[in-house]
């Protein structure tokens, strides 16, 4: 049945854990839609023949709906619509909240290509390698206009915006190659802004990462790449370490846990911080990025608002590298 409906509705293959959930709601909604259209259509056609005109100035009966009928007209659609809303909301919440231990990949959209960087090292342009059966989170930003990251087989899509990070996650179930589209119109070559997700079996993925680190495949990747986009093949965290030195972060932030003018980087990631004004914040990528771009927005209690903004001084890949570096400084558990 599933297969039959699948082919009937031209759905792409189901290659992530979301796909089945989304598709079953899809069948429910589209099925009811078709039944309703056919039902209303048939009722209308039946009425046309049953109640066709017999004389020119024919008088008709004065028929009005009873309160019960009108209540039925309202409640039946409402019950269906709210059911779909509830299921849709539940799935949407599931799809937008990445699990804690997901593997992170940074994504940069640019007219008209996708660049993927892994915290452990390799970069890729227009090809994203991920292991099967593992939660993967993409942290995405754009260098110019709005793009949108869409993998039909995974049933995921998220806009990629300049100046901020958005995230999307998935768990691919089957090794294979899947198409990535840009779905937000982004200019002349919008339709050429394509990429692929290559899902590898977990052991194959480990091998691939090792080879990437050795650099044996690096040349091939670089050959595909727009040279201006590809950073030197350094690990992101290492890049970040260099950047915190060169950008002057270490003047105010320590990396060994001692408090200074600003909060220490050690153990900062994933910590609960209490803010000026009594609120609490969970330190994640978004908070760290915001603190670099707009330091005054959320000040941790006990520190002054003295940090200058790095808006415009760091580009997306650099701030991502710094975030990765801070993430390596987690407190020992």
């Amino acid at each position: 049945m599933n297969d039959f409906l699948h082919n009937l509705l031209f759905l792409p293959e189901q290659a992530s854990t979301f796909a089945e959930k989304v598709d079953s709601l899809h069948f429910f909604v589209v099925g009811v839609t078709m039944l309703m259209s056919i039902g209303v259509g048939t009722a209308a056609i039946f009425f046309f023949f049953r109640y066709r005109r017999r004389e020119d100035h024919q008088h008709t009966d004065y028929v009005v709906p009873s309160l019960k009928t009108e209540a039925l007209f309202i409640s039946v659609p409402l019950v269906f619509f709210l059911t779909w809303f509830a299921i849709g909301l539940r799935d949407y919440v599931h799809m937008t909240q990445p699990p804690k231990d997901a593997m992170d990949v940074y994504v940069m959209g640019k007219q008209w290509m996708w660049k993927f960087s892994y915290p452990e090292g390799p970069n890729g342009v227009n090809v994203l390698h991920v292991p099967a059966n593992r939660d993967v989170r993409l942290l995405m930003t754009s260098r110019d206009v709005i793009h949108s990251f869409f993998v039909p087989a995974f049933r995921i899509k998220k806009d990629v915006l300049p100046g901020r990070y958005t995230q999307v996650w998935f768990n691919a179930t089957k090794p294979g190659t899947y198409q990535v589209f840009c779905t937000e119109y982004c200019g002349l070559s919008h339709s050429k802004m394509l990429a692929e997700v290559v899902v590898l079996a977990p052991e194959d993925f480990d091998t691939w990462v090792k080879e990437q680190r050795k650099g044996s495949l690096q040349n091939r990747q670089d050959a595909l790449a727009d040279v201006s986009l590809v950073d030197p093949p350094a690990r992101m965290a290492e890049q970040g370490q260099a950047l915190v030195g060169s950008q002057g972060c270490l003047k105010c932030h320590s990396v060994d846990g001692t408090p200074h003018i600003g909060p220490t980087f050690r153990g900062l990631y994933d910590r609960e911080e209490s803010l000026e004004g009594g609120q609490k914040v969970h330190v994640d990528e978004a908070y760290i990025t915001q603190s670099m771009m707009d330091p005054g927005a959320h000040i941790v209690t006990g520190f002054g608002n003295v940090m200058p903004s790095y808006q415009g001084k760091l580009h997306g890949a650099e701030s991502a590298a710094i975030v990765e570096y801070i993430k390596t400084l987690r407190a020992e558990q």
Partner: protein, 222 residues
């Protein structure tokens, strides 16, 4: 439904209200004109509402830049302008009062005073703008003031110039409308039966005033 032109006796020398034959009565015609004006004013409010939303959104994102920016405006000139504009609204209202009393000379005087104050408002606003051009506190890429360099400050001045600029544009339109009303009061047109034009012009002027009453605290005070 069939209506013939109603006979209204009006004071010597003034003009009887013009009656358009497609209305049922003169009252209905005046009611329609007022209703139309209210609807038009609601569109004006919504026009500015878009800018207020931009202001609110960016103020929430960059509270410091906006506080810094507003401290940098000339509070004294802003206050003077507010007083000038509120007073001009009062004289515009008085013009309606005198029109209802068929005192066309007083209508002319009141509108002249309103126009004078409107001009004063624009001149003061011009001084403020001039200062900002000299200093470099300008919107977007034109901003080059070294004194304030916090993120979001250019947005503050973008909102400032767009909202005060749009408001100034409305002041100029309002002046045009009032000048037209004044040209009619100088010809001794208005009386207790024929004052809708003064009333509508004055309503428009109150709107211009009202928008400023929102803009002033938003931009200068908080």
């Amino acid at each position: 439904m069939q209506s013939s032109a109603p006979v209204v006796s009006v004071p010597e020398g003034t003009q009887a209200p013009k009656f358009a034959a497609h209305f049922a009565t003169l009252d209905v015609q005046n009611h329609a004109a007022r209703l139309g004006m209210w609807l038009f004013l609601s569109t004006e409010i919504l026009l500015f509402a878009g800018l207020f939303v931009c202001y609110g959104f960016y103020r929430f994102n960059f509270p410091e830049a906006f506080a810094e920016g507003s401290r940098h405006l000339d509070l004294f000139l802003g206050t003077v302008n507010t007083i000038v504009l509120i007073t001009s609204s009062f004289t515009a209202a008085m013009a309606v009062h005198y029109a209802k009393a068929s005192k066309n000379k007083m209508v002319t005087l009141m509108i002249a005073l309103t126009l004078l104050m409107a001009l004063g408002f624009l001149v003061i606003k011009g001084f403020e703008y001039h200062h900002k051009f000299e200093q470099g506190t300008l919107p977007g890429k034109y901003y080059h003031f070294a004194g304030i360099q916090v993120p979001g400050i250019t947005l503050y001045f973008t909102v400032y110039f767009l909202s005060t600029g749009l408001h100034a544009f409305h002041v100029i339109i309002g002046m045009g409308i009032l000048a037209w009303v004044m040209s009619r009061s100088m010809k001794n047109h208005f009386n207790y039966a024929n004052f809708t034009a003064v009333e509508l012009g004055s309503m428009y002027w109150h709107l211009v005033d009202l928008v400023w009453i929102f803009l002033f605290p938003m931009l200068y005070l908080i």
